[in-house]
Symmetry: C2
Subunit: 333 residues, 2 copies
């Protein structure tokens, strides 16, 4: 039994053994163990719900793998609503012939990531498709969390005068995937920043109260996400180029490959937009946590160029940063 | 723009237009329209959560398609906990080159199915993978519903003396998929029973109160699902062979293909296990609804052969019905 067989998705005896053996061992808890058609959990009031499918290629990369990424990505989307992530569901689509060792490594990594993030996997599903009908493994996770603040942060709430912060360096995940896929190595290793931000967000909310916008700049990177926020809130956003943190190895790799780190995905960073008066307090909270050690104030919300993002260069020039056009990086998450 | 391009999954401008155009048109509502990282919904108390990935091949089949199936399958899993399905999330994995007409047909079908089932799609995600890395379209849906009864029905609650009912004929979905895939046609057309059972379940609970077990016999069919219940509850189940409803066209097709309808998937039927004294009332409620018109009492829960399911044949013989062994029908849902 060293490879995944079609049987394992049949719903019959073979898949039962398989599910019991592997998934319960790494993801099990008392709710999942009931094995009914749905899990029953207890919730009250405003609840955040988010879903994401993960198709990253390669499935193992420096700093993570598709399993931990599937936990972090959805936990972070829930946390960005000012919510405490509590429960995850996992849907696996496996290609017949996937080495069992690879699957076990991925599922073990999911279990470890879920424990660290404080979430429980309460429901799951496994499908196996014939060889060639999928590429190795795809994972959907859906996350449910309790919203901690009212009003919740939202892309619609950026206000003129707000400060724009990021919790660390930009582009690490995207460059790590791309360089692994292309077999490139740089002088300094580039690692994905894949990490769960629920704890960091809770500290931030506890310390500074109302935060207007929280968003994690994944596909399309910082530039695309800020364009979305500018559009949703009907404001302009102005960034100071040299204030945006970029790891020197990422900057170097991007220069070689002709990529812009502001358009590369991040999987363990957040954008935080809040009143200017709270910016220094927020920065201190972020920097006190290892996941926010590289945090910086990178710009502000302005009344000009509504719906657009402008970058102020070191020489004082200003250029518009559009959304990502085209697809340079398929299967980045 | 007649085919899905890699761009559409990039998170950038092309995917925004794509998402706005297509998904909002068919699935849009005020919650989804906020386009934050997660949806915020209001819930109170016991909540049922279920997830399922759909990889059915072909994606269009008599009686449905992968879009309506993805709604029905998850709505039914939530309903089986005695819950009212309220919200769905949808995660799409699309193969580059998928005809846009096919995608639109699938998404429109999801929208129609969701409206009929009374659920709202509150969060979504779209990934596009290069040609050959997936087969046309895979859809994950996760459903959230409010549990209406306490205790909730559960596979652990079957009791000796309970009656076992099904809401209609067995095996329709499985045979419809298999015969379509193999290009077979029978004298009478075989159609999938794909349908949402939330309304039927609510009527049943309102009329008869506590129902011990509700379960929809999907992959592995009636026989496998009853084996699961027998194992979870530590009881035996005895079925009367000639009481189990099977459409004559399905029975005929199964005879030709050497398949057993008791092991074929259903996507619009439920198993209901409840005290014998309530069986006739439950049967009347089920039969009064078009989705339960073919309902029947098919057996009872017994103290003998714990964890096993026995079939009593017309001549009075008894044979054990095991779980499905092996995989005759990959990509059935």
């Amino acid at each position: 039994m060293d490879k995944v067989l079609l049987d394992y998705g049949s719903g019959g005896r073979a898949s039962h053994r398989f599910v019991n053996d592997l998934f319960f061992r790494h993801l099990g808890n008392d709710i999942l163990a009931r094995m009914d058609d749905a899990a029953v959990v207890s919730l009250r009031g405003a609840v955040a719900v988010s879903t994401d499918s993960f198709v990253v290629d390669p499935i193992f990369f420096p700093g993570g793998d598709i399993g931990s990424l599937a936990v972090h990505g959805t936990v972070n989307d829930v946390a960005m609503m000012g919510a405490r992530p509590l429960f995850l569901t996992c849907g696996f689509i496996l290609e017949e012939g996937l080495p069992m060792d690879d699957l076990e490594r991925v599922v073990a990594s999911m279990g470890e990531a879920a424990r660290r993030a404080g979430v429980r996997v309460v429901a799951g599903d496994t499908k196996v498709v014939p060889r060639g009908a999928a590429d190795k493994i795809f994972i959907n996770t859906t996350g449910v969390g309790q919203v901690l603040v009212d009003p919740a942060p939202s892309g619609h709430r950026a206000e003129v005068g707000d400060a724009v912060l990021v919790s660390g360096t930009m582009g690490d995940h995207g460059l790590a995937i791309l360089s692994t896929r292309q077999g490139l190595s740089f002088d300094s290793p580039v690692r994905s920043d894949s990490a769960a931000l629920g704890g960091l967000v809770e500290k931030l909310l506890a310390a500074v109260g109302d935060v207007h916008v929280l968003r994690d700049p994944t596909r399309g990177g910082l530039a695309t996400t800020l364009n979305e926020i500018a559009g949703q809130s009907g404001v302009g956003i102005e960034l100071t180029e040299q204030a945006i943190p970029v790891d020197p190895a990422v900057a170097g790799g991007c220069a070689v490959l002709g990529l812009d780190p502001l358009y590369l995905a991040n999987e363990g960073k957040c954008i935080c937009i809040l009143p200017e008066a709270k910016a220094q307090a927020a920065l201190a909270v972020l920097r006190a946590d290892p996941l926010g050690a590289g945090a910086a104030v990178i710009g502000r919300v302005v009344a000009q160029h509504q719906g657009k993002v402008a970058l102020v260069t070191p020489l004082g020039g200003k250029r518009l940063l559009g959304m990502l056009e085209g697809e340079q990086l398929p299967r980045i998450c």
